[in-house]
């Protein structure tokens, strides 16, 4: 049987295993042009080419200036491509009076999780405006994907208290802290709390850190994400396929882990 690394070396579509991208966006971004088609249609074309069955997705517009309009874009993508996009409702804690209403609306519409971006919204993850989000997610047993970075706003260590207080919510540490100090913190938090997971996209990430995360937490804790179309998804795709890990572990990372978490939601 041909292994995943060999398939990647040949540029083959990886269509015999489950691949779910747990960290994707949609649309354009202000400070650099995105040349590929960042619409749902364009994303599906590349997902099909690589063998990615679905994405957990939030709009660039939502993590930028307008979370409500961004969520509308995602709703349309979910309707146009059923089963390919799992909506992550983005909220902005700087609009506290609109958050719960937005969450309730979007979960009724079929969104399956919540996306927060403390850095672009410039609001610390420990701030009180996020409390209703944690409570909502706890009640729904929902996934919360947060952008994390090694800083004072959303460092992985800041999620420890939240994970402890809200054991039913499942926290995906987006980028796992983004830089090596962040990776180390993220590993520590994920190793300690059952409901914290390590999502792996980012410019500084590598197969080395993937191996560290698997060995220091568990192969069940590491989650594939790409930041598509912020980044070209073929980068993280290749990092996993070429990583010095067994195919069984790669399969968990690429899809089985997030599928298991989704089933519990």
């Amino acid at each position: 049987m041909v292994g995943l690394k060999e398939k990647a070396e040949r540029g083959e579509k990886i269509d015999d295993i489950l691949i779910i991208d747990a960290h994707a966006h949609m649309g354009k971004w202000f400070n650099f042009p995105i040349y590929g088609d960042p619409s749902a249609k364009g994303m599906v074309r590349l997902m099909d080419r690589l063998g990615v069955s679905k994405c957990l997705v939030s709009a660039h517009l939502s993590i930028g200036p307008d979370f409500h309009e961004g969520n509308e874009i995602i709703l349309k993508a979910m309707q146009d491509f059923p089963g390919r996009f799992l909506g992550m409702c983005t909220i902005n804690p700087n609009y506290p009076q609109e958050m719960l209403q937005e969450l309730e609306l979007r979960f009724r519409q079929g969104f399956i999780g919540i996306k927060i971006h403390p850095s672009t919204h410039n609001y610390p993850v420990g701030g009180k405006n996020y409390c209703p989000v944690w409570e909502f997610a706890q009640e729904k047993k929902a996934i919360v994907l947060s952008h994390t970075w090694y800083d004072g706003i959303c460092s992985p260590r800041l999620f420890a208290g939240i994970a402890e207080k809200y054991p039913a919510l499942r926290i995906l540490l987006g980028h796992s802290g983004g830089v090596y100090q962040g990776y180390e913190e993220a590993i520590e938090v994920a190793a300690k709390y059952e409901n914290v997971y390590l999502e792996i996209c980012g410019s500084e990430f590598s197969g080395y850190w993937l191996e560290q995360m698997v060995s220091k937490t568990s192969p069940d804790k590491v989650i594939y994400g790409t930041d598509f179309p912020f980044h070209d998804p073929r980068i993280t795709f290749g990092r996993v396929l070429f990583a010095p890990l067994s195919d069984e572990v790669k399969k968990k990372i690429l899809g089985l882990n997030i599928e298991r978490i989704l089933k519990k939601s």
């Binding site: 980044h231 073929r234 980068i235 290749g238 990092r239 070429f242």
Partner: protein, 242 residues
Amino acid sequence: MLGKWHAPKLYFDSARELLSEMDYHNIEKALVFHSLAWQYDPDTGNRKLLEEIENVNSKGMHERLLPVFVIAPWNTPSEMMDGESTKEIRTRAYAVRVFPRDQNFLFSKWLHPVLEFLEGIRMPVFINYDQVDFRDLDKVLASYPELPVIISNTGYRICRFLFTLFKKYKNFYLETSTFFSYEGIEEVCKKFGAERMVFATRMPFIDPGGMLARIIYADITEEEKQLIARGNIERLISEIRR
């Protein structure tokens, strides 16, 4: 890059380990410089680089590692760059790297004797994106049209700078290691040609898997992939005037 690093601990630091990574990823040759030449002293680091490459001198392994010298002006007591340095570069280097921001100089016409020398021998110059002001880079590319300048470690937010310079200058190239722009590689091929890119990994800060897959799965022709993977850098090396 070879050598140790202040932080973080890199996932390898020796020539032997680099070769092992290259084997795992089917990479035949690599242009390589030394961390000490960047973060301690160019001359010491360049010497150390040559020693480390020589130390893997078995079964032709050292021929897979092609030395890249880090250069900085006024590193000798007497001249901006002395005769010994230029001779070493001419005879042994496959490219040079400059770190003007970290090593406190300007990559500009201030460096005229050095840039004139490098242009004269068609020596490729790598420079990291965060080491240069693009207005200076613009002027260097204009003033030294036969000097191949390769922008390096760019990230994915660079295209508005990058494409402007691609359009203006034929002697401007991109190494791909952190060029993660969604379909950015395809766009460069379409607008400016695959000839403008050279494959790179940024080992040992990150590993090659991501960029390998990016090229293998790119929506470009096999010929374009071959140019990016090896053809372009081989051509640039072949044009060096020893």
